[in-house]
């Protein structure tokens, strides 16, 4: 028998277990991604069909490097928040859910860091 009040039992047990932080960060990253995505997408479109030297030169301007790195960081962060909600919605087995969440986060961090370091290497040479 538990002596905890129903309120005490319920506290901290929302679906995400972390209050409104997840919700807020998802919105803030979404707002940041609007200009970042448009810039990066059309910047990449301009590189299509151009010689390698031109593509590399695009990664020389500090502003472009900043936009690409910020885009990648924010986009992968936003993706990990979104995929977390999808997994929490559809995977009901507790062990599978935790495994899927950890695996997803690891994959996102690995892919994200690889992409960011690729941009930095293109920018600063090897």
């Amino acid at each position: 028998m538990s002596l905890m009040t129903p309120l005490k039992k319920a506290r901290g047990l929302g679906s995400a277990k972390d209050g409104t932080h997840h919700w807020w960060v998802q919105r803030v990253t979404a707002i940041a991604l609007v200009p970042l995505t448009l810039w990066v997408a059309f910047c990449v479109a301009c590189m299509v069909g151009e010689p390698y030297a031109f593509v590399l030169s695009e990664f020389q301007s500090p502003f472009n490097i900043a936009m690409f790195v910020l885009f990648l960081f924010t986009a992968f962060y936003h993706a990990s928040l979104g995929l977390q909600v999808v997994i929490e919605d559809y995977v009901h087995h507790e062990g599978l859910k935790i495994g899927a969440l950890i695996g997803m986060k690891f994959a996102i961090v690995l892919t994200g860091f690889t992409a960011i370091f690729a941009v930095l290497r293109a920018a600063f040479g090897s």
């Binding site: 609007v34 995505t37 993706a79 995929l83 999808v86 892919t111 690729a118």
Partner: protein, 156 residues
């Protein structure tokens, strides 16, 4: 079943004989158990697809597709970092008809998720939640995602 439940609930509440009261309570519980055997929560397939629901599902679907496609972005950036040969290989792969098809789908998913995301941000601030505006903004989002996709491929 609903009216039977209602009359049972009324009878259970106002009876003065304790035995009768327990009996009614028992019947009431059996009745609830019977009702609970029905599929209570309607599932996706019983609803007629509407613009609002389809766009909502598409938002999540494109989000997952974009996350998977981010592997391609990482590969392409890695090829640039690796050198001219790797970049040429990546270009040949992504420039093939299949690569272009994947990229076309991915760019539309990107712009759809972007536009519908802005729609969601308006909703989050309490703007445009009535049915008429929701349908209008949905159509605008669809049109804008196609326009942006075409624009990007014209630039490329």
């Amino acid at each position: 079943m609903g009216s039977e439940l209602k009359s049972l609930r009324t009878r259970t509440a106002y009876v003065d004989n304790p035995v009768k009261h327990l009996l009614n309570l028992y019947r009431f519980n059996i009745c609830i158990m019977k009702t609970n055997n029905r599929p209570l929560s309607p599932h996706l397939q019983v609803y007629k697809p509407q613009l609002t629901s389809v766009l909502s599902i598409l938002h999540r679907a494109t989000g997952v597709v974009l996350a998977l496609g981010s592997l391609l972005v990482a590969y392409w950036l890695g090829a640039i970092a690796a050198g001219p040969e790797a970049y040429a290989t990546a270009n040949a792969l992504l420039g093939s008809w299949f690569g272009k098809l994947v990229l076309l789908g991915w760019t539309w998913a990107l712009f759809y998720h972007l536009c519908n995301g802005i729609r969601h941000l308006f909703w989050d601030s309490g703007v445009g939640l009535d049915i008429k505006t929701t349908y209008l903004s949905g159509k605008i989002v669809l049109a804008a995602s196609v326009v942006l996709t075409v624009l990007l491929w014209l630039v490329a």
